[in-house]
């Protein structure tokens, strides 16, 4: 009993900090999402109206919100497999016994993760430029007409995906590399003695042994990609024709550009519920496949 109490005393400071800086703001945001808090309310609290679920209902009938949701899903559905594929591919190459200069390539491929997003976005904007960009120059070399990467609503999101995958794949690559290094070498030796091909080894040893890491990376990447913000913010400002507005970008404009904190909080909670639901589904899927 006394032992218990002592333990509580030790964790109390940490719990207090979490409560004050984490749970309390979330609770406040939840309450604000039930009101129409805006600059008028900032001026005088008597201008605040309680609207119940009004903000949420209104979001559901706002086409721009649905468009933002669609854009975000597009980004997640196309970006996550690409990102994980690129990370896994790079990790396999780096792990291969044939690879030379491993430390150099490991650092080089990880470099985009630690560079400043705004700085590389400026460079990528030059590369995406319709008339002078490196990308269209290369495409021209193989006979493809120039693409208006950031100006055409059909190409802007693919451009953002390309940029985001390049910027982020190094992080997961390192995690995969650690996973690969923890697979016992004996398994491969045994497989080689049995005459298994490289492809067979990959399918029967590497991927099954790596599956917990793939799940972890999958959950983290999906949750991260749902929070798409900085890439469109610096590359396209949501344009052209709102084709790169993500849910978080929508929330940012609503809350910090127009100061409609009530509806911005509602957007934040919708996004939270969405990520929560997707993660729960993933965990359930994990249990189901493991069983």
């Amino acid at each position: 009993m006394r032992f218990d109490r002592a333990a509580w005393w030790f964790v109390a400071p940490a719990l207090l900090v979490i409560a004050v800086f984490f749970f309390f703001p979330i609770l406040a945001a939840l309450l604000i999402s039930l009101t129409d808090f805006d600059i008028y309310a900032l001026a005088d609290l008597s201008n605040l109206r309680f609207v119940g679920l009004g903000n949420y209902l209104k979001l559901l009938e706002t086409p721009q919100f649905w468009q933002a949701l669609g854009n975000t899903l597009y980004f997640v559905v196309a970006g996550v497999p690409l990102s994980i594929g690129a990370s896994l591919g790079a990790a396999l190459l780096l792990h291969s016994r044939l690879a030379r200069f491993k430390p150099f390539f490991r650092t080089a491929l990880f470099a985009p993760v630690v560079t400043t997003l705004v700085a590389v976005a400026v460079i990528w904007r030059y590369m995406f430029n319709t008339r002078y960009g490196l990308l269209n120059y290369a495409l021209g070399g193989i006979g493809i007409d120039p693409i208006d990467w950031l100006g055409d609503p059909h190409w802007a999101m693919p451009a953002i995906i390309l940029f985001a995958v390049w910027k982020n794949f190094g992080y997961n690559m390192i995690i995969f590399l650690a996973g690969l290094q923890s697979i016992p070498e004996e398994l491969y030796e045994a497989a080689r003695i049995d005459g298994a091909s490289i492809w067979r080894q990959l399918r029967s040893i590497t991927l099954p042994m790596l599956s917990p890491v793939v799940w972890l990376v999958g959950i983290l990447t999906i949750a991260g990609y749902f929070q798409l913000f900085a890439e469109p913010y610096v590359m396209t400002q949501g344009g052209p024709l709102q084709s790169t507005v993500s849910v978080l970008y929508f929330m940012y404009e609503e809350g910090f550009k127009w100061w409609n904190l009530g509806s911005a909080s509602a957007v934040a909670f919708v996004l939270f519920l969405l990520i929560f639901a997707v993660t729960a589904l993933q965990l359930r899927g994990r249990k189901w496949t493991a069983a």
Binding site: Y171, Y233, G239
Partner: protein, 432 residues
């Protein structure tokens, strides 16, 4: 994205750091005890330069010490709102004049009519009417214009001459004829005009040229279905449909000055800051070949946007008299002229325009003319958001997804929605 929280968190951190740094910087220079310390917030380049004008003010007003804090434009709005929420507003502040209605709605800034009535320096009649108007909300004056900003035509004289025209257009009809002729000579890869789709200002300028206001019923509802706005939007959309303007956002034009120098477009609607930029950045081969001209209107010279910054005094300040003395000092014609020499900003009153160097500046001349026809945008707190929606809906009309009439209807619906709270406030007797 991995490990990156919501943007609010780092924005907060950045603000906090900036604030802490500012506190540290501010505390280095301590004024003599007993002095009145006036806190003055100014943005961007103006914030850097105004420091050079202050020693003279402090000499003329012993006992007043001015403490300047510079805010970057990108963080200024947020910082001012945070300061208001935290009761930490400065005494006097530079405020973009489109922000004034918002700060009036907040009840953050104080009316200045009484001060102006007693002033011998701030003479309302000497100021350009449209610019002065931007500071008047609900019949009361809340700011004194510091510098002005309006949009007009920058054009390539040589390209216009090659198309067969010796002088810039004065009306939309002439303008259209010239754009058609330039486009015909330019071919498929070049254009007559650049209207960046990520800027609302060119369309707003065209819309302000119309007789009908953009909002009706005292700013309660949108008025975009009026004949005037639809005419302006039609003109704007036609410029793209006829191939005079490329459907590009500013981000796609990596270097406007390069492209203007190369003749990618012949007309560009922009503001006074580009006079210095064009002088500095255009290649020498076209230096003599560009000029500025007032914005053409539907029938003869048209209106344009009354933009710029004003100086305001915060309600919470207990040094209003000292703050007003600083405003008066910065409004003096000779101080205004020095300010122009330091920044390139254009003075909001006619006095400084009568002397050199402004009187002899060939590029500024068109601005002098345009300023007599500058009109304020609707003065409601929600205007900036409505202007942004105007840009987004116009972009859809340009892309051909909706017609001009549908766009006007959509805009009225969005504006009415945004103005809902304002209607409620007015109905319960708020906002006055």
């Amino acid at each position: 994205m991995n490990g990156q929280g919501p943007p609010a968190r780092w924005r907060g951190a950045v603000l906090f750091c900036a604030f802490a740094a500012a506190l540290l910087a501010g505390s280095c220079r301590s004024p003599p005890p007993g002095d009145t310390v006036v806190k003055f917030w100014a943005m961007g380049r103006e914030g850097e330069v105004v420091v050079q004008l202050l020693p003279e003010f402090e000499r003329a007003h012993p006992g007043i010490h001015v403490e300047v804090q510079q805010l970057p434009w990108t963080a200024a709005h947020e910082k001012l709102l945070t300061a208001f929420a935290g009761d930490a507003t400065p005494d006097i502040c530079q405020l973009g004049n489109t922000w004034i209605p918002e700060f009036v709605a907040l009840g953050a800034i104080t009316p200045l009519d009484r001060y102006v009535a007693d002033s011998r320096v701030v003479d309302a009649a000497d100021y350009f009417g449209g610019i002065w108007e931007t500071n008047v909300v609900g019949g009361a004056l809340y700011g004194v214009p510091w510098y002005v900003d309006t949009r007009l035509l920058f054009y390539r004289r040589d390209l216009l001459a090659q198309a067969g025209y010796a002088s810039p257009p004065a009306s939309w009809q002439e303008w259209t004829r010239m754009m058609a002729a330039i486009k015909q000579r330019a071919g498929a890869d070049r254009y007559a005009i650049l209207l960046p789709l990520n800027e609302f200002e060119p369309l707003l300028a065209l819309a302000l040229q119309q007789d009908e206001p953009l909002l009706r019923d005292d700013g309660r509802r949108g008025n975009f279905e009026s004949a005037g706005f639809r005419r302006a939007l039609q003109f704007y959309v036609d410029a793209f449909r006829n191939g005079y303007a490329p459907a590009l956002s500013g981000a796609d034009v990596s270097n406007v000055w390069n492209e203007f120098g190369r003749g990618y477009f012949a007309f560009y609607i922009s503001g006074p800051w580009n006079i210095a930029e064009f002088k500095q950045r255009l290649p020498s081969s076209v230096q003599g070949e560009w000029a500025t001209a007032p914005l053409p209107g539907p029938n003869g010279p048209g209106a344009s946007i009354a933009g710029g910054s004003s100086l305001v005094v915060f309600k919470a300040s207990n040094k209003k008299a000292a703050a007003w003395q600083l405003i008066e000092y910065l409004a003096q014609p000779d101080v205004q002229q020095r300010f122009h020499e330091l920044t390139g900003d254009l003075p909001p009153r006619r006095g400084p325009w009568r002397q050199a160097p402004l009187a002899d500046d060939v590029y500024a001349r068109a601005f002098r003319d345009q300023l007599e026809r500058a009109k304020p945008a609707p003065r409601v707190a929600e205007w900036e958001r409505i202007a942004n929606e105007m840009r987004l809906v116009a972009e859809r009309a340009v892309s051909g997804k909706i017609s001009v009439d549908q766009a006007a209807k959509e805009l009225d619906a969005r504006a009415d929605d945004i103005l809902e709270k304002r209607r409620w406030m007015l109905a319960r007797g708020g906002l006055r």
